[in-house]
Amino acid sequence: MKDLITQLAQAVAPSGSERQFQETLLSYVKDLADEVKIDRLGNGIARKHGDGPHIVLAAHADEQGVMVIDIDDHGFLRIIGIGEQTPSLLVGRSVRFTNDEIGVVGAEDDVKVQDLTLDHLYIDIGAATKEEAQKRVHIGLSGVVVEPVVSLTDHLLTGRALDNRVGCAIAIEAFREAAQKGLNVSVVFTAQNAVGARGAKTAAYQLEPDFAIVIDATPAGDTPEASRNDIQLGAGPAVKIMDSSTIVPIAVKDHLIESAERAGVQIQYEVWTKGRSDAGNIQLSVDGILVGGVSYPARYTGRTSTVVDLRDAKAALDLVLEAVRSFGQ
């Protein structure tokens, strides 16, 4: 799974620019799917018809980023955020755009760190004039902070976009196993999660599953002076109890806890009151869809680089598989 995660984390796919990456993601599942498609909002969907209730595995494919909004006479770019960005974290970092152009983020002088907004930042791509810059970038072009994936230990990985490429990897493997068993399962690599779970909304409407499992990161609270949060890296996947978008139905929560017991997976419980996931928009689609969440702990979610534990990812896969297998029995 480490190789798969590392490979997926290479892709540059800020919200709204997922299409190319979706081709890659779908290439891992299409041999087992009856139908694959990329829909209007950019969701990548693979469907396998089979026995039993229709279960959807959902993992967002996108990541937060920046978008070029202005090019000045000297070739410097101005940006807006894609998703919530902390401006101070971008200063001095390299940005890679979806067309592989690279630039460095600078900040206007004389602005205090606490007053810094994205309006004070610019990207230097080394262009001397507006015309020169316009040959390489355009307004509306998106990019992400460069941060390679590195192994900290045998189990710990750090890097950009591990949130949620780890989830994509889990969803790929879970879909493959479930499809091979002949189960009635779909996988959705959702688009535009970081800007408000927009893809999840339209994906849920078209699939109308009997049950959906959202696979995403949850912040770990095991770092120095972290805010009160019981989640620890390496202590197993977290069963979602609630986040700001959803309250998981008690029956689904119990199903996931029992599945974990059967699969011999040690679990934690996710109460992430500020977190937004795809689960809410899936749950509130049509006249309501049963939704649950399996989350892997990640340190520094929402920052440019996160830390995850591959053992949590592996255990999350085991839990998802058992939850899919035993749903409705």
């Binding site: 919200s15 709204g16 620019s17 829909d39 209007r40 909002l41 978008m67 909004i69 202005d70 000045d72 101005r78 807006i80 955020g81 894609i82 309006d119 307004i139 509306g140 535009q192 800007v195 927009r198 909304k201 339209t202 994906a203 409407y205 078209q206």
Partner: protein
């Protein structure tokens, strides 16, 4: 003069009756089918059945005020409908209710204010509308709680082919849509004049679900701040720079293929265009594209200086170019120029 008629009509969110009737009158000779929905949005359809179903959207509503309380001395308390900065309200006239009765929003004379007071903006709670009533009983003869008001601003042309009025957001979009509906297209076309955009894209949410378009375009008046002291990346749009296309706003990230298609149509027809360069704000497409299984499309906006304020300015050239671009895009789609 269409822009004059539309911008001087009343229609705060939820109270679109007057503007809806005007639009209905204007388009009825030109469209095959017209109906309203339960929220009050007005739909106009042609009879063409084959080809991608196109929805053009413009919202009828505007920001306004609602009378919420009458003081013993006859002054009226109010609250905003939609986003209004209270700082633009002081010393402005308004028109109240279907009778369009005049009222003025005054303030304590500067002579009586302490130096400290003068530097602080006045909040909605410190402002009152004066209709000339002697007392509460007098006011109650002509005003009911829940009556709504809009800015009393005349439409006038000024400067270099520019115009000033209230509610160019989004009566300019309504005007573009009306002009487009007067033309004939060989593609299924639904014009949706929606309600309640200013209070959360509510009319468009129901409209997108109902119409189920293949392609939707919101026609809007949008933020323009190309004024003294504003850096290029703080302007959003430039007056006279042509209709603006959205790349990202608070509700939408543009579909790249459709954006490039719109740009190619503009370039082919030599219609000037610009890209809207700000993340804040949104338009009805933000709601429409998330309905059902998702909708492809975008937004075409006319730059409006001082949007949501009593006196807004547009370039009539931008307006004319937006009409040309909208027509050219619909024609290009009807000729198979864009495949979903």
């Amino acid at each position: 003069m269409l822009l004059k008629t539309l911008t001087e009509a009343m229609g705060p969110s939820g109270f679109e009756d007057e503007i809806r009737n005007l639009i209905r009158e204007e388009v009825s000779p030109h469209v095959a089918k017209m109906y309203t929905d339960v929220l009050g949005s007005l739909y106009c359809e042609n009879t063409v059945q084959t080809g991608p179903r196109i929805m053009l959207d413009a919202h009828m509503d505007e920001v306004g005020l609602m009378i919420v309380h009458i003081e013993e001395n006859g002054l009226l308390r109010f609250k905003p409908i939609g986003g209004i900065d209270p700082r633009v309200l002081v010393s402005k006239p308004v028109q109240i209710g279907t009778e369009k009765r005049f009222g003025v929003i005054g303030a304590k004379p500067i002579h009586l204010q302490s130096p400290d007071e003068r530097t602080k903006p006045l909040g909605i709670n410190q402002l009152y509308i004066d209709i000339g009533a002697k007392d509460k009983k007098d006011a109650e003869q002509v005003v009911k709680l829940g009556d709504v008001c809009v800015f009393a601003t005349r439409y006038e042309e000024l400067g270099d082919n520019c115009a000033k009025a209230k509610s160019f957001d989004d009566r300019v979009g309504c005007a573009i849509l009306i002009e487009t509906l007067k033309k004939q297209f060989q593609v299924p076309l639904v014009g949706a004049f929606t309600v309640q955009e200013e209070v959360g894209l509510r009319g468009a949410t129901a409209a997108g679900y109902r119409v189920q378009p293949d392609i939707a375009i919101a026609l809007e008046g949008t933020v323009c701040f190309d004024v003294v002291g504003a850096p290029s990346h703080g302007q959003s749009t430039v007056l006279g720079g042509g209709p603006a296309l959205t790349v990202q706003d608070s509700q939408t990230i543009a579909d790249r293929a459709f954006l490039e298609f719109m740009i190619s149509v503009a370039e082919k027809h030599n219609i000037p265009y610009q890209l809207r360069r700000v993340k804040g704000g949104s338009n009805d497409f933000g709601a429409i594209h998330k309905t059902r299984d998702g909708v492809i499309g975008g937004g075409i906006s006319v730059p409006v200086r001082y949007i949501h304020a009593p006196a807004q300015i547009i370039s009539l050239e931008d307006y004319q170019n937006a009409i040309l671009l909208t027509e050219a895009i619909v024609r290009a789609i009807s000729e198979g120029g864009f495949t979903i």
